[in-house]
């Protein structure tokens, strides 16, 4: 990998010609700029032969540990209501007890419903665009938010190393990062997108994506651009904090103009008002602009429901469900529906038994959702048993890495075994 550590300087010239390399010693920052411009264009087709270059994955992260049992309701299992006397969601067509509400019907035969706040997801299900994977987790579950989130994001049970999506890019990009390959909407970029070479772009609002200093005097713009587009200046150690900052500054300049223009355009459809809806709206604008971005990442918090969870959990679910439905409508209007899938996950589910505070504590396996016109809609796998438990928690039925493998192999056409460092029992959610 040593040759990968210096993506912004000499290696580019080696790849793109001796003439550039020999000039690089005299006017480095200028040459680096133009060399990068070339790479950016080449990177539009990062995968090479056979890879559908316009397919997009949108990752939707529910932070805090989403209560899977109150998301997909196993109303057919009486143990569910025994374990959750005051927060168990009533079966469809039953009379609601207290404030719990009545589940939306998902699968009568399997005895499964959706949280009453998930009308948005229900509409996607009825349209044949929602795959529900049951009991997704991993062995020796970790109940720490951060460790478990890192496990999901690195796709390793040791929770160490780079992110799984970052490694996907590292694997396909031949040592050169793909500018704008992955974009996260939010303040801090998630570990999942971090590769050895590939680094994500992230922003919360496109309007904040430029330097104000050039409004002071136009003469400041040129030196500012030189400084921030210089890449790694000579005699900087490649692994140093300074080199990291110089690389990031260059990424920022490259992404700035284009992203601001794309997000400024109005949407084709109307959107609900919520933070997660706004994030997905930005993603839809970037897709419409034809960005070379393959993976988008959005997130929503508020799922750490230790107490009085019925109201707060319902509100969070309603926001994400409605936002996902609106996103799909916008994609249809853009005629982009067939090249985008969205994957919804949380770091863990919650304990089967409710706690004394009308909430639930950290648990293990939970359902995942995958959405799109190209997913095999329906319920996948069996619901975990509510009696055969591991320390009061569900035993997982599907390793999440098998879902990643499925998406890598069959959606992104990337070698999952290499990226994930092993093979896992794969789900089957992508249409042939």
């Amino acid at each position: 990998m040593s040759e990968h550590n210096n993506p912004y300087s000499r290696r580019l010239f080696i790849r793109h010609g001796v003439a550039l390399a020999s000039m690089a010693t005299t006017i480095p920052q200028f040459i680096q700029n133009s060399a990068l411009g070339m790479v950016a264009q080449l990177a539009g087709n990062p995968g090479g032969a056979g890879i559908p270059q316009d397919r997009i994955l949108v990752v939707v992260q529910l932070g805090g540990g989403n209560d899977g049992l109150n998301t997909v309701i196993p109303f057919g299992m009486s143990e569910y209501y025994n374990a959750r006397p005051t927060i168990g969601i009533s079966a469809p067509n039953a009379t609601a007890k207290g404030q719990t509400g009545v589940a939306l019907m998902l699968d009568q035969q399997r005895g499964l419903g959706l949280n009453p706040s998930l009308k948005g997801l229900k509409s996607l299900y009825d349209d044949g665009k929602l795959a529900v994977l049951q009991g997704v987790g991993y062995p020796n579950p970790n109940r720490s938010h951060f460790t478990s989130m890192d496990i999901w994001q690195t796709a390793t049970t040791g929770a160490k190393g780079n992110g799984w999506i970052g490694r996907y890019f590292d694997n396909t990009c031949n040592g050169t990062p793909i500018p704008e390959g992955s974009i996260s909407i939010g303040r801090t970029a998630p570990l999942a997108l971090n590769g050895q070479v590939q680094k994500p772009i992230s922003f919360e609002s496109a309007e904040l994506f430029r330097w104000l200093g050039k409004d002071l005097h136009k003469s400041l713009d040129d030196p500012y651009q030189q400084i921030n587009r210089a890449g790694i200046v000579p005699e900087t150690t490649q692994t140093s904090q300074a080199a990291f900052l110089m690389r990031t500054a260059l990424d920022a300049q490259l992404g700035s103009d284009r992203i601001r223009a794309a997000v400024g355009k109005p949407s084709l459809t109307t959107w609900p008002q919520s933070e997660i809806a706004n994030q997905l709206r930005i993603v839809s604008a970037l897709i419409r602009d034809g960005m070379p971005t393959r993976v988008y990442y959005v997130s929503q918090g508020g799922y750490d429901t230790h107490g009085g969870q019925l109201g707060s959990h319902g509100r969070a679910l309603q926001q994400v469900g409605d936002a996902l439905a609106a996103f799909q409508k916008e994609l249809v209007a853009q005629h982009a529906e067939d090249r985008v899938i969205s994957m919804v996950f949380s770091e863990f589910g919650r304990r089967v038994k409710q706690n004394a505070s009308g909430g639930t504590d950290h648990g293990t396996a939970a359902p995942m959702f995958v959405i799109g016109s190209k997913v095999k809609a329906g319920v996948h796998g069996d619901h975990p048993s509510l009696t055969d438990l591991d320390q009061g928690d569900l035993k997982f039925k599907q390793d999440f890495r098998g879902v990643y493998a499925n998406i890598l192999d069959e959606w992104l056409n990337a070698p999952s075994a290499k990226i994930l460092g092993g093979t896992f029992a794969k789900s089957s959610i992508i249409k042939a």
Partner: protein, 498 residues
């Protein structure tokens, strides 16, 4: 060999740039003249000045500076009235109660915003920068967020607790934190009862506050620790031990057996070697070097030496901080510019070292939030990850723009800040370079400004980039030109280092 790792810097090696380094790391930077004064003191006195700060007079923090009654619990009469209203389905009374609740919450949200401004102002003005810096360290370490607890006075109380123990005894602070209302509420220990234990505080106490994830404890230890903490709750603004909810059974925790309560549980933890090592590692990242990647052999040795010092002093922090700030290793080239400034560090240091106008405190609070560090609102119980996680392509623009705002008062259209027309007199930065006629040589002035503002020697390329610009704008280094040079310097990627 561990003592070797902490061997002190030779007195004569403590020069001007070392003094700048000390001011930045043990505090939030200082002006050129403050750095010169510190350098003149010599190493020992300079470190004493920062670490033994009690001799510096400071405005005391008053217990009643903020209103403690906004979110105070309902009285028995109010509770009874609410019960009756629900029972009788008295919609009018219920709506009035809801309005009252909304009013209180809105008022409290105003107060937490005031609290943020108050703390940022204190960090900017304090003559005891290390006191505030360690308060900030503990806020990130024992991270507690207002969003969950919704009581600004409890956040204020906790902030005072951190300040009181800033360079005091870590073990004592740990015993106090399990009695802190904000922490108890944040990690649900008010719900932790022997009949229905809640593991949240016990888990984070071991994983994040003392030992480090997975270091020497098991899931069973967490369950036993949770039982030890049952009944640790609070009433209004003070700790309350609810004997009825406390589990008195014998517990096994990490190989020790006893009828542990919360303090007993903590004592078992604090006696473990892992605890001092974990704290040493965190302080190392906060004060010495937060580069990513595996630790080098030398770094490991230094952290071990720090841990030994902490154990030897029975968790007293002053001897450790004194040793770190006096050590040759702390000042070595590999540790200069090896920390990425936190948003608070970036903002407060800019004001303290350049002496820009403060402009709007609310704008500074909003800016630190946009850059990823909203004080009193840490992202989760793990606090802020720090290091490279501060930086991405969007926070980099915000960091550059905050500096433009401080230097000039201009704000981006999107930001809801007050623009400010207070002029910034930057000429004091180059006062010591003035020639007899009062002018400052352009080349030496620019070189000095880059040197002072960048934690590492500026590269020739950067000097050339700024010099080319400055020369194109005339020959005199006047105030406007200094500010232009500062706008460019603070927009350099390496300005984010300290």
């Amino acid at each position: 060999m561990f003592e070797d790792a902490l061997k002190p810097l030779p007195e004569k090696a403590f020069d001007y740039s070392a003094a700048v380094h000390l001011l930045n790391r043990a505090g939030f930077g200082g002006t050129p003249s403050q750095a010169r004064a510190l350098a003149d003191m010599g190493l020992n006195k300079a470190v004493d000045r920062l670490v033994k700060y009690e001799s510096q007079p400071v405005e005391p923090v008053k217990a009643d500076l903020f209103d403690n009654s906004i979110m105070s619990p309902q009285t028995d009469e109010q509770r009874e009235a609410a019960r009756k209203a629900r029972q009788n389905n008295d919609e009018e009374a219920l709506a009035a109660l809801q309005r009252e609740r909304n009013r209180k919450q809105a008022e409290d949200r105003k107060q937490i915003a005031e609290l943020q401004k108050w703390w940022i102002k204190r960090m900017i003005e304090t003559p005891r920068p290390l006191e505030e810096k360690m308060t900030l360290f503990f806020h990130g370490h024992f991270a507690t967020g207002y969003r969950t607890i919704e009581d600004s006075f409890h956040m204020y109380q906790q902030n005072q607790l951190f300040r009181k123990f800033a360079t005091g005894n870590f073990a004592q602070l740990a015993h106090r934190i399990i009695r802190d209302p904000a922490m108890i509420k944040y990690l649900d220990n008010d719900e932790n009862q022997k009949s229905k234990p809640n593991e949240n505080l016990a888990r984070e106490l071991m994983e994040l506050f003392t030992l480090g994830e997975g270091r020497g404890y098991t899931e069973d230890d967490i369950k036993a620790g949770a039982l030890a903490l049952t009944g640790y709750t609070f009433k209004d603004d003070t700790f309350y031990f609810n004997n009825n909810n406390h589990d008195t059974s014998t517990k096994n925790i990490m190989g020790k057996s006893g009828q542990f309560d919360g303090d007993g549980f903590l004592d078992v933890i604090l006696a473990r070697n892992e605890c001092a090592e974990f704290m040493a590692g965190k302080l190392f990242r906060f004060f010495v070097n937060d580069s990513s990647g595996d630790l080098s052999k030398e770094q490991k040795a230094f952290i071990l030496a720090m841990a030994n010092k902490l154990r030897a002093s029975k968790y007293e922090l002053k001897p450790l901080l004194d040793a770190v700030f006096s050590s040759a290793y702390f000042y070595s080239a590999q540790n200069r510019g090896a920390i990425i400034k936190s948003p608070i560090q970036l903002t407060v240091q800019a004001v303290r070292s350049l002496r820009t106008p403060v402009r709007e405190l609310s704008a500074l609070a909003s800016a630190t939030d946009l850059m990823g560090q909203n004080v009193f609102f840490p992202p989760n119980v793990k606090g802020w990850d720090g290091g490279r996680s501060w930086i991405n392509t969007s926070t980099l623009f915000i960091r550059q723009n905050v500096l433009v705002y401080l230097l000039t008062g201009r704000k981006p259209d999107m930001y809801e800040w007050q623009a400010s027309d207070i002029p910034f007199d930057a000429t004091h930065l180059v006062d010591h370079l003035r020639q007899p006629d009062g002018s400052v040589d352009m080349a030496s002035g620019i070189e000095y400004l880059l040197r002072f503002n960048l934690a590492q020697s500026p590269s020739p390329l950067r000097l050339q980039q700024v010099m080319t610009f400055a020369k194109s704008r005339g020959e005199r280094l006047d105030n406007d030109r200094i500010i232009a040079v500062l706008a460019l310097t603070t927009a350099m990627p390496e300005y984010q280092l300290c």
